[in-house]
Symmetry: C2
Subunit: 240 residues, 2 copies
Amino acid sequence: MANAFTKRLSGYAPLNDADVGLLADACRNVRDVPAGHHLIMEGDSPDPVFVMLEGWACGYKILPDGGRQILAFMLPGDFCDIHIAVLKAVDHSIVTITNAKVASVPRAQMEVLVQARPTITRAFWWSQLVDQSVLRAWIVSMGRRTANERIAHLMCELYIRMRNIGLATDDQCEMPLTQIVIADAVGLTPVHVNRVLKSLRLGKVMELRSGSLTIIDPVRLSEIAGFDGNYLHGRLKQVG
Amino acid sequence: MANAFTKRLSGYAPLNDADVGLLADACRNVRDVPAGHHLIMEGDSPDPVFVMLEGWACGYKILPDGGRQILAFMLPGDFCDIHIAVLKAVDHSIVTITNAKVASVPRAQMEVLVQARPTITRAFWWSQLVDQSVLRAWIVSMGRRTANERIAHLMCELYIRMRNIGLATDDQCEMPLTQIVIADAVGLTPVHVNRVLKSLRLGKVMELRSGSLTIIDPVRLSEIAGFDGNYLHGRLKQVG
DNA sequence: CGCACGGTTGAAGCGGCTCAATCTGGGTGG
DNA sequence: CCACCCAGATTGAGCCGCTTCAACCGTGCG
């Protein structure tokens, strides 16, 4: 019955079996989508809500000059777009990064869940708050952190989120991001991302290779990042 | 009966007189606070919800190295902190920028409003969505825009938000921000903010002087900014 | 095989930072 | 009413982190 979605939400509110059942049922309509497939395109009118069950996706916006800024990474259990529930048209796109399993839940059914189940409402609300905290943390990174710090911080965030849904070991997790994707997320060029990753590797801090992250020195890493994981969830432990 | 708060929320959902009455009543506990006064300090446990009725405030976070990153500007009618409703401790601070009138609403009363009035719930939800869109727009700015573009974009955002609550004329509005505050918001140094403002002034695009913004060439300004105001509200008009 | 895409490395340029000095205006005490 | 003060605004000079441009490598895949 439980899937990545219900697991994540259980972390936010004490869902009982009936709640979990309803949520799992809402996710019954599952699609397999390949990497690089768009779930939502800028300008679409938002209809179903997408929930990631397996695989990674990201939301991004294209600028007039062709540049791309990634706004969020969606991991298993994450909503892709509750936030745009009421808007007429979406102002950004969402694309899968890996092959993925995605559930699509009709808006109407979401409404029903929210109406009927206060605990589910609360879990949705929390989920939203956490997403918003992540956005704020990104702003801090882009505004005031150097390239090294930014990348270290992003790796901390993603590692902790992966660990939080049981997809990380003590010192590593999957991290299926190309250097181009990382660059578009942290606001740097791929070339510079490459140099930063090299220096982190040579400095024996962390290693990102063939789609997976290995944290060699967790203390150093979170020092460099200035990482305080609390924003991801009240009861999260620190890296290391 | 109506105040800046009920006016802003009316823009998001069709509040009836009873709704407006309840909201206005919730805001009955008003305090006058001077500029530079902290409404919330990092580490506080969040109790009342603050609503700006007059004046400006901003939320920010201090980094280990002493740097400051501003995360949001709060204008009349804005919530300061619904988002942190459920968290144990706040991870950022909120300080007034000008003298201000601030209503504090007990959390319990907020809950009552949300339970009893679906339209109010919807308005809160919308308000939250708009806030989140603003955060995303900031990420785009910090990640992919130059200093000129960033500052132009911020000015567009703030002008439109001011106009939206009836506090702007065709070509100007109050903008009580020092260059230091702007620098902390857009992730630049005050020195460079100064140079950018100078170039925008000399280029006859806009002028920021003694706490007020004058838009000289709205078309150029929004071109420079790459500004698309839709994210602030479905039915917003463009600058100019 | 060969193409395409991502990773890697080097060299040169530039946007924004740092450091530092001067100017300005509003507030304050005498 | 003036002298002073102080925070913010302004300007200049030099520096540095990141970008740009360009080449080359490695590898998975049609």
